[in-house]
């Protein structure tokens, strides 16, 4: 078994190289659309950052390259920066690309987060967009059916996914961190 360990690490090195190559190629395809394309070798992921207005364009290019479905679509709230980051994990079922994932990121204005819907390109994002709207208030323009997915219909108040929606916690040192 011990002999397999270096083998595996060699394999990982080779994979990492392939990932970097792929990232450079993707950045060529996305030239002018994406602001940043970088490979994350640890998670086997390519991060693609795009401007809010170019999301659809980038999505079209990516789907034509073979990324055929959305694995996850959500937001990450950064209140101190005043942005909500739209984070879309996209993947592929085609043989060549199934090993990696790409994350399409775009920074939205926290006061009025709007993004074009991806349902026309990736129909698999339909329910996920509904959830992202419900949790973060991201309005997906052109979504066919944007209503609540998980919460009760009469739920009122802040967007529960955001950081300023606080849930009751025990005070630090009371029970959760007795060692301090």
């Amino acid at each position: 078994m011990a002999s397999q360990q270096p083998q595996a690490s060699q394999q990982r090195l080779a994979l990492g190289k392939a990932l970097e190559e792929l990232a450079t190629r993707l950045s060529e395809h996305l030239k002018g659309v994406a602001t940043k394309v970088e490979a994350d070798k640890r998670s086997m992921v390519i991060n693609i950052e795009v401007d809010r207005s170019r999301i659809l364009e980038a999505a079209k290019i990516l789907s034509s390259l073979g990324f055929d479905h959305v694995k996850s679509l959500t937001g990450v709230d950064y209140p101190d920066k005043g942005v909500i980051e739209l984070m879309v994990h996209i993947g592929s079922y085609s043989r060549g690309l199934r090993r990696i994932m790409a994350i399409l990121r775009s920074k939205l204005d926290r006061k009025d987060p709007r993004a074009p819907t991806l349902t026309q390109i990736w129909p698999s994002s339909e329910f996920q967009e509904r959830e992202a709207w419900e949790m973060f208030g991201i309005v997906f323009e052109g979504h066919p059916d944007l209503r609540r997915l998980l919460l009760p219909e009469e739920f009122e108040g802040l967007w529960p996914g955001r950081k300023d929606f606080e849930i009751p916690t025990r005070k630090a040192g009371e029970a959760e961190e007795p060692w301090k």
């Binding site: 078994m1 397999q4 360990q5 595996a8 994350d40 640890r42 998670s43 086997m44 992921v45 055929d68 479905h69 959305v70 694995k71 996850s72 959500t74 990450v76 709230d77 984070m87 994990h89 079922y93 199934r98 090993r99 994932m101 994350i103 990736w122 129909p123 698999s124 994002s125 339909e126 329910f127 996920q128 609540r148 997915l149 998980l150 919460l151 009760p152 529960p160 996914g161 929606f165 849930i167 916690t169 959760e176 961190e177 060692w179 301090k180």
Partner: protein, 412 residues
Amino acid sequence: MVASSIAIEEISKELIQTRDLGVTEEGERLVELQIGPTHPGSGHMRIRVWVDGDIIVRCDPDIGFVFRTIEKLSENRIYMKTIPLVERPSLLDTTPMTIGYINALEKLMGIEPPPRAKYLRTILAELTRIASHLYGIGILAIFLGHSTGFMWGFGDRELFVELANQLSGARITYAYVVPGGVRRDMPQSFPDNVEKALRYMERRLKDWYKIFLNNPVIEDRLREVGVLRKNDAVKLGITGPNLRASGVDFDVRVADPYEAYDELDFMVPVAEEGDAYARTLVRFEEIKQSINIIRDALKKMPSGDIIHPQIARMFNPLMKKIYEETRRVKFPGIFASLKPPKGEATARVEAGRGEALFHIVSDGSPRPYRFRWTTPSYRNVILFKYMIPGHRLADLPAIYGSLDYFPPEADR
């Protein structure tokens, strides 16, 4: 077939005129049925269907009845306390989920478990996969009115639950996988017990084929029902056995191997038809493959540590003693304030129902800044909307059962 639906239509037409039976829209004589959470064929969700005669015209899954806000809760929990949170929603196959979360965490921390721990994780994951598939088949059987299938599924499942109990000490919520390894080593009698159970299951599968898969009524109910074409499956982002039954041989265990899967010998069963019967068949084949994996893993099981040396170094003498004598890991208090470095990590695993994706955003504090988790059931919900219309009302439970959809897992 046609005559019957026309007859229903004609009767219902007259009735609707005299009495309000539901939503009637312009020109359409639709009856809205709420197959709600108390309905025996719904589980923890509500399915709103609009039927025209016996044919379902529209279907709207209303989920969220088990939405426990795990993503939000984990932002207020330390990393170790998120492990049980991750387990609860998919109570049927908890281990793949914990593996996914821990893998993401380990990527953040930059450690990798020793090989023996990897094998132990794999074995437990496959045991729960068999248990989860048997559960799904049992639910499908009771949806078709086949109570023996339900009872046999749940009865045979107990065997694997019991094996997992021997390995980890709990029936279904194991919390067996911890950062850097596993909680305890396997008992000495474990390989023999596993072998016994696997042999029993192999014998049992023949009975299963006799009473369930080759049963004429079950075949009639499942064949050519809920057909999902390859293109649609890819477009809708379906995952798991449902995807493989439509002819796409995607399996995270092969596509992006984690734990010990790249060293083990198994196949990925694929069917081309894409109907409910194919989905059920793929599940049965996966049980067989899981049996192979467990056998192979027990054969190739390396010796050595079950926890990463970096963590073992932090043990105090008592913990060290316990670890050496009984091979159980007691965690040092420092883990309560485990602070992975700043960054992001993504991990994915093949759970019983398909691909689960974990994304952790860490800001260097003891709690995750953001924890994103999509479960296979959550990705398969969309099928209710797009696959069910056009089928008969009686096909709804058949399709639901064949999707092996588990609402708590979808809602998280």
